[in-house]
């Protein structure tokens, strides 16, 4: 699920730098996820779309492809106000973000 080597190669950054950016992403990713849930609850689909778009781009930059794909699916559904399955997608996104957190903790003690 996580390819630090791919990110290092594509971005031209050191391993420590990529790990630092992944940790950074976790903080903002969790905030955005909370934001998506809150926006969906308030039926503010524009805000939900923007939050999902934000996660999608940042995750793609860090080679978190699964996270980026799920965020993209949420972005499209929120933009189209298509709520079918969006809750499940949001849960899946939460799991995927926590998997990144667990990986960092296990692999690097971060």
């Amino acid at each position: 699920m996580i390819s630090i080597e791919d990110a290092m190669d594509r971005l031209g950054l050191e391993r420590e730098e990529v790990i630092e950016f992944l940790q950074d992403f976790l903080g903002y990713g969790r905030d955005d996820l909370t934001g998506i849930r809150e926006a969906l609850r308030k039926q503010d689909y524009e805000a939900a779309t923007k939050r999902a778009h934000s996660i999608k781009g940042a995750a793609a930059n860090l080679s978190l492809d699964a996270v980026s794909t799920t965020a993209a699916a949420i972005e499209i559904k929120a933009r189209n106000q298509d709520l079918e399955g969006i809750s499940e997608l949001t849960d899946r996104l939460a799991d995927q973000i926590e998997e990144v957190a667990a990986y960092l903790s296990d692999a690097f003690g971060k």
């Binding site: 594509r10 971005l11 950054l13 950016f21 923007k50 781009g57 080679s63 980026s68």
Partner: protein, 378 residues
């Protein structure tokens, strides 16, 4: 060369830091998290390039770019938009809005490095061209000022002769030139010159002629001798491809005798009030400045009250109906307009001729320099 400055505008903190880390290895980077912040930073840093996220909360990338280019940064500073890979609409809109390129997420260091470097190099090249253009314009302005200072500020005053002139340079520095001077013995010498081409080079050759003319005319040289001497002087100095056509005359204010020599200049029209005829003055010789040791013939006329002499450069007769048309204004039409408007004052007549040429062209900008010198016997 100093390090280029890049303004990076990206709302997502992780993407912003990541991109900044990639760019900072080669460039000086200022980072902004919003369009509003970018405007403040741009004022302070004056970047050489802007990397701008399209989708941002509040002011989006398009609006930010518009504001930045409305006087905050040099509008030619390249802007690269940061967009999502699948967002082709934003990419198209960005390019239409004046962005030079776009980068899609996920970023790739090779693509980033190439695009940023290429557009910075192009921007530097554009700045160099602009600098060279500015310098050229400045030099052209100086040549224009120099040339203007060489033109007579006033004509010799004489109760029997009046001199009027119209001068329409096609560019700032012209290849046309004229002079009217009173000689030490009271006669009046005048010359109209057309240097090949126009621009700074022609203006400088015109200035050289002026210096030689001013010097020789005081030695009471006859028109034909003066042209020979100026030719001998200039042929050694001016480049092979350049030359001048000159009409040079001297009028004795007591006898009204005109002596002249025409060095391949358009033949001036002399209107004879006594007969109503027009005579074309052609005695002379070839162009000046091209061939060594040339001799020139000389013609003479005795002027009478009411006579008018119109001396003109070929910019008048070779004015085109429009840039694609080969139809020229021509000597016949100029002569016709000259004859039809003898009732006008000299100044009014010259204005009328210029207006008629402009009307013929369909615009008021001249492709070649035009100068008209009118001598009227009162």
């Amino acid at each position: 060369m100093s390090t280029s400055r890049i303004l990076l505008v990206e709302d997502h903190p992780t993407s912003r830091k990541l991109l900044a880390a990639m760019l900072k290895r080669s460039y000086e980077v200022a980072v902004a998290a919003s369009g509003q912040e970018a405007i403040g930073l741009a004022q302070e840093h004056q970047p050489d390039m802007v990397l701008l996220d399209v989708e941002m909360p509040g002011m989006d990338g398009f609006e930010t770019l518009n504001i930045l280019r409305s006087g905050i940064i040099d509008p030619s500073v390249p802007c690269i938009f940061l967009t999502a890979r699948e967002d082709s609409a934003s990419r198209e809109k960005g390019l239409q809005a004046g962005a030079v390129d776009y980068l899609t997420k996920p970023y790739d260091r090779h693509e980033l490095a190439i695009k940023v470097k290429n557009h910075l190099d192009l921007y530097e090249a554009k700045k160099e061209i602009q600098k060279a253009n500015d310098q050229m314009a400045q030099e052209m302005e100086m040549a224009y000022q120099l040339q203007r200072s060489l033109l007579p500020q006033a004509f010799p005053s004489n109760s029997r002769l009046s001199f009027s002139v119209t001068y329409k340079p096609s560019s700032k520095a012209s290849g046309d030139f004229y002079d009217v001077v009173e000689m030490p013995d009271g006669r009046i010498a005048f010359a109209q010159v057309d240097v090949s081409g126009h621009g700074v080079r022609s203006a400088m050759i015109g200035a050289m002629f002026k210096m030689a003319f001013q010097s020789f005319v005081r030695e009471k040289e006859s028109p034909s001798h003066l042209l020979s001497r100026i030719n001998d002087n200039m042929v050694t100095v001016i480049p092979d491809s350049d030359y001048l056509t000159v009409f040079y005359g001297i009028i004795d204010v007591n006898t009204l005798k005109l002596d002249y020599s025409n060095a391949a200049h358009p033949k001036p029209f002399l209107f004879r009030s006594a007969t109503g005829d027009v005579k074309e003055l052609f005695d002379g010789g070839t162009i000046v400045g091209a061939f060594a040791a040339m001799e020139y013939d000389q013609g003479s006329e005795v002027l009478c009250q009411g006579d008018r002499l119109l001396i003109y450069t070929d910019g008048a007769t070779e004015a085109r109906r429009n840039s694609d048309d080969l139809q020229l204004y021509g000597e016949a039409r100029l002569k016709e307009v000259f004859l039809e408007n003898l009732a006008l004052t000299p100044g009014e007549m010259l204005n009328y001729i210029v207006k008629d040429i402009e009307k013929f062209q369909g615009n008021t900008s001249f492709e070649d320099d035009v100068s008209l010198l009118l001598i009227s016997v009162e």
